[in-house]
Symmetry: C2
Subunit: 172 residues, 2 copies
């Protein structure tokens, strides 16, 4: 049986997931980070690399879970918890369910694609062979702001590029 | 726009997916195979390797789709169709949806875990940013029998092993 995590541990592990998200941001990727925890220790980390790796599966929690499987030499992770800064999508929810992870802790909601709370409750489906405890809103303000700021910056950059293109056209 | 596939092509591509499934079976894995098609040509193949690779994500269609992304240098596959011998699970349905694949053709139903027809209709959800056409029951008898025979063989092997253990115990 997995020991309950304290509020301090939960806060700490989400902080580590946020650190992973910053690594994604530094590479121009949407800032999403994740860690996998077993027995109160981080055994795997991941951050979003979908654009850079040109691979649709390279979400933060996906990377962390696959890395955890490598560490434990098993595709089943029945004693693991995953911490991720954004609500898992349908794909990642499916992966989490299949690995028998016990708990998912996430920060920001994903109203357009969230698979564990916003659009579907895939991890609580009693027809499936395993259910996962979902804990939403961990360090919610921080994790949401990180995404909002990222997209605001991207839009500002796009506007600046558009203005620059117009100015060049005008000069020609 | 992607050209419509003829019934002969659909039959042929599912035959190729069945060939991939046999590769999984030869390695003792559950026989599931997949191919990804663009412009009437197979550009990627995959078969189930979850046990051997100790990786929860290594489903047949997952492998084929990630391989297709590598081939096309993009995580978006807006002109691709996927053929898979078993109904995609929730994880693979999420992956398929995100890659913007146009059509999924599958053989056997998966009543306990199917994410595109049996338990959920994840690929037809109009709240998501892309919908995928689902074609079920392609070479359904063959693809179902392949799985039934595999599990029958596994059960027979387990029974034989149990009998052997009992016999040894009796002799001691």
């Amino acid at each position: 049986m997995t020991a309950m995590l304290t509020p301090e541990q939960i806060d700490h592990f989400m902080g580590e997931a946020i650190m992973e998200a910053h690594k994604a941001e530094a590479l121009g990727e949407v800032p999403i980070g994740a860690v996998v925890v077993v027995d109160g220790q981080i055994i795997a980390r991941g951050f979003n690399l979908r654009e850079r790796l040109e691979d649709p599966s390279q979400h933060a929690e996906y990377q962390a879970i696959v890395e955890a499987s490598r560490v434990l030499h098993s595709w089943r992770l029945p004693d693991a918890q995953v911490f991720v800064t954004l609500e898992p999508c349908i794909m990642c929810a499916g992966l989490i369910q299949q690995t028998r992870i016990t708990d998912v802790y996430y920060g920001a909601e994903d109203p357009k694609a969230g698979g564990v709370h916003s659009m579907y409750h895939l991890l609580e489906d009693e027809r499936l062979n395993h259910q996962v405890q979902v804990h939403q809103g961990v360090r919610a303000a921080e994790t949401s702001e990180m995404l909002t700021n990222f997209f605001r910056k991207i839009r500002a950059q796009q506007k600046a590029a558009k203005r620059a293109r117009k100015a060049i056209k005008h000069e020609q």
